[in-house]
Subunit: 129 residues, 4 copies
């Protein structure tokens, strides 16, 4: 499991007084940084091998400014070319949001999904549920 601690930013609140819902996909993307590194250790964007196909977020409880949030990220399923990721956001020992992201190992040259190579699969294994 990947664990990331995020300190909510004042700029991330909205007029209802809590963290705006559009911020959670940003935190969850940051939660996937460890997957980016496992898949593509150079982080070089010229041969970036991932594309995002789908995300979803369920807003479980209000998220407040002034308390850290822990983002927990695990790989739920590893397909031939797809990586399905589950996210949870916890604040003050309470689950406040969950989410899923479907990423595809992708060849931007041919514009097609590609098979996840064995060495990448191996680096992803410790992040599996």
């Amino acid at each position: 499991m990947l664990r990331l601690t995020v300190s909510p930013r004042f700029a991330e609140t909205d007029a209802l007084g809590h963290i705006n819902n559009t911020v959670i996909p940003v935190w969850f993307e940051q939660g996937r940084h460890g997957i980016f590194e496992a898949v593509h250790p150079s982080l070089n964007v010229d041969d970036w091998p991932l594309i995002l196909a789908k995300i979803s977020v369920e807003f479980v409880a209000q998220i407040y400014f002034g308390e850290d949030v822990e983002i927990r990220t695990v790989i739920d399923k590893l397909g031939n070319s797809s990586i399905i990721v589950n996210h949870e956001a916890w604040q003050s020992k309470k689950l406040v949001a969950t989410g899923e992201a479907v990423m595809v190992y992708f060849d931007y040259q041919t514009n097609k999904a590609a098979t996840i190579p064995p060495e990448v699969r191996e680096r992803l294994t410790p992040i599996m549920k």
Copy 2:
């Protein structure tokens, strides 16, 4: 159907050269402004009657800087207290993203879902699919 034209911002691109995926939930929330107005014409946040329960986005094609994007928003289903919304993003006559949002008519005082009143329901009807 609500139609919103968005000009992608340079700040919304990312290092892969396209619009970053976390921007689409922001555009889709802006696509729901017309629903906010129909539900709560004053837009006063002190008695705001909506809460967001869930969002999902499917990334269909790359979204580019330099071309306007049209966000199309319709209400798919109107429940007793829930409003299920469908979004589409179109750029250069191509569907580039779709999404769904589940909103709940909500009483922040009692912290509970509430029945959508008839006059709100009436104002929402023209936005239905």
Copy 3:
């Protein structure tokens, strides 16, 4: 003068109930898009010839959700390689923010400022104060 109309986004408000101050540099950058196009009509990032050296913003009055904002952008001074830009944000006929941006015509290969070519200077002239 370049004029851009921005509809404030709910996600751009903060817990104090107004548009968060960090949003204004984003709107002002969008106000400079017409300068990007005049300087570099292709908008191709591979030979992008501008770098931002400095920005400043003065917050004159609260900016509200629910009313459009007009961003007015003019070139204040055109140096050998620098372009100094003035921004104003107007909402409900009131000046709500002003700002300045110092951009430099730049050669990313040699990592040095470069002389603004005559044809670029000509395309910038209509945007001058």
Copy 4:
């Protein structure tokens, strides 16, 4: 001095491959959180006593994804009602951006600047240059 470590987010890069310039004011605002707490320990927005009058940022060097950034924040001058703050952003032992923010101790009821009370002044002293 307040020190904050920020991990640049992929969503914060832009098509030029580096961190977009509009992100730095967001990090600098986060760098001021310790000042918010010193001025207004409850962080309650209903009696928030600060308003931002001005910001400026100088972009000294490119800021990269993949390396942490340290934001250093000090109070440069403490006036009767104003708090002038200096920010620096450091990445890989290199100064990459500097900035200033002018905040005003403010009474939102009377809509006027107010004198910084002695106990607030005392809590701000350790953050002074």
